[in-house]
């Protein structure tokens, strides 16, 4: 009765992708029903908001750019993998692209499970993998007028 059963049944009932890129503000309330399940007692979620500072610099706004085709398949692969790795009922993620202001919701992850430990672990794993693997880049615009693409260089890209 884990995610695999849900998958099989969900082909018709759940045509929507588990991972979405969105050019519009993320509506968490609209995403939530996909995670409801009478048997699921636990729901864990994560939201990443645009902060007003990063690395000591005052941030004014930012742009997210995605390689949309690959971001969609890679994001979907992460969520499908989460349903196999963890005992969860459902998992979803929405990532914004385009221009965002301070306090805007940049990414949301929601996971439902029978038990809270699984919900927390899967939620944490998903956001970590999304940040590590999905081809999305952040361009920070600073209050001083400068801007720059963030390419974390302390960890080489892995695998292929």
């Amino acid at each position: 009765m884990n995610g695999e059963a849900g998958d099989a049944r969900g082909q018709a009932a759940m045509p929507m992708k588990r991972f979405q890129l969105s050019e519009e503000p993320i509506d968490v309330g609209a995403e939530r029903p996909a995670l409801d399940h009478a048997a699921a007692g636990a729901y864990a979620s994560f939201e990443g908001w645009v902060r007003d500072h990063n690395d000591g610099r005052a941030v004014q706004r930012l742009d997210y750019q995605a390689y949309a085709a690959l971001a969609s398949t890679e994001g979907e692969a992460i969520l499908d993998e989460a349903l196999v790795r963890f005992r969860v009922r459902e998992a979803r993620c929405v990532h914004r692209v385009g221009r965002l202001a301070i306090g805007d919701l940049a990414v949301w992850v929601g996971v439902s499970a029978d038990h809270r430990g699984d919900a927390f672990e899967a939620c944490r794993w998903i956001i970590d993998e999304v940040k590590r693997r999905v081809p999305i880049w952040k361009n920070e615009h600073y209050v001083d007028g400068e801007s720059g693409w963030l390419h974390p260089d302390n960890r080489p890209a892995e695998g292929v």
């Binding site: 750019q65 690959l70 990532h95 952040k138 260089d153």
Partner: protein, 79 residues
Amino acid sequence: MKLTLLYFASLADRAGCAAETLDSVARTPRELYAEVAQARGFGFAVEHLRVAVNGAFVSWDAPLAAGDEIVFLPPVSGG
């Protein structure tokens, strides 16, 4: 053979464009990157990039074919 390249983030800024089509004798992404990095002045070493061909991650030594769409992906910063 004719290849299409898409550029994102700082590579697009450096290239001054989001896409280009070029003729190349490169047989692999590794050879293609060496060629393009020199022409465009890209600073990333291949160890800090990933590469995708036709919308899927591939190895740096995968064979290229005419008409392929290649993307060199700098380190990501979503989330």
